[in-house]
């Protein structure tokens, strides 16, 4: 399992066209649906902690790795998701700069980007199905969307607000 955590997250890191948030649907499809390493609720918690903790949101890999296979799983997932970008940035910076301007890689990014948006839609639909058990939760989701989009409130406060609404309604 640790090897699988490593290589699957390495693939995710290579396909994260558009930054860390663009990789979230890939992580969700792989960790929740394809391998069933974690359940949908664990995934939400992983993403929430990814927003809350400093650094890239892809640190969710560490959380998922731990939930799937303990400390060794956390290590494997973290190495998988960060090793390749680190290697490319550190050891192959010059080559990478030239590669990023290559028209094929630019074309690949232009094709992969829209697919990531479509997959984000699938992830969002799954989260809605899971959490909309009371009328308050669609309201929470819309409010979170507006706050994230229109204000500079840190995501941690948005997440805390949503959690408190859940506790208050008790459903």
């Amino acid at each position: 399992m640790t090897w699988e955590l490593f290589w699957r997250f390495a693939v995710v890191s290579l396909l994260a066209f558009g930054g860390g948030q663009a990789a979230i649907p890939l992580v969700e499809r792989i960790a929740v649906h394809e391998t069933r390493w974690v359940g949908p609720e664990d995934f939400s918690a992983a993403v929430a902690f990814g927003y809350v903790t400093p650094g890239p949101v892809l640190i969710t890999a560490t959380f998922i790795g731990y939930r799937a296979a303990g400390p060794l799983g956390a290590l494997a997932a973290t190495l998988g998701v960060f090793l390749m970008p680190w290697f490319l940035a550190a050891a192959a910076a010059r080559l990478l700069k030239r590669l990023l301007h290559h028209r094929w890689l630019q074309g690949f990014g232009r094709g992969a980007g829209p697919a990531v948006v479509g997959l984000l839609g699938v992830t969002a639909l799954g989260l809605a199905r899971q959490s909309f058990v009371h009328w308050a939760y669609p309201v929470v989701a819309v409010l979170a969307l507006i706050l994230a989009f229109r204000t500079k409130i840190h995501p941690v406060f948005i997440l805390m607000g949503g959690t408190l609404v859940g506790v208050a309604f008790g459903k």
Binding site: E41, T53, P71, G107, G111, A141
Partner: protein, 92 residues
Amino acid sequence: MTLLAALYGVASELPAVGPAANGLTASVLGLLLSAAYRLGRANIERPLTMTLTLLAFAAGGIFDVSAALIVVASGLVGILCLAPAAPKEGDR
């Protein structure tokens, strides 16, 4: 993060966590939709890119196709149809 994951493992057994998790999930959903909007505005500019988005949504959501496969396939379409034109000999 490892510590948080361990603490979550213990806390998720408590009965009060269910409603809190629903609220947390709903707010995560809002944050992801905002990310989707930003990414969409940057990436969906023409009918082909909109088609790729819809195809990815259908492939992932309805047909359960592997996410990595969807991204790679869409990227290959991008190489074929969306790559910038090769510089002409005279431009070099």
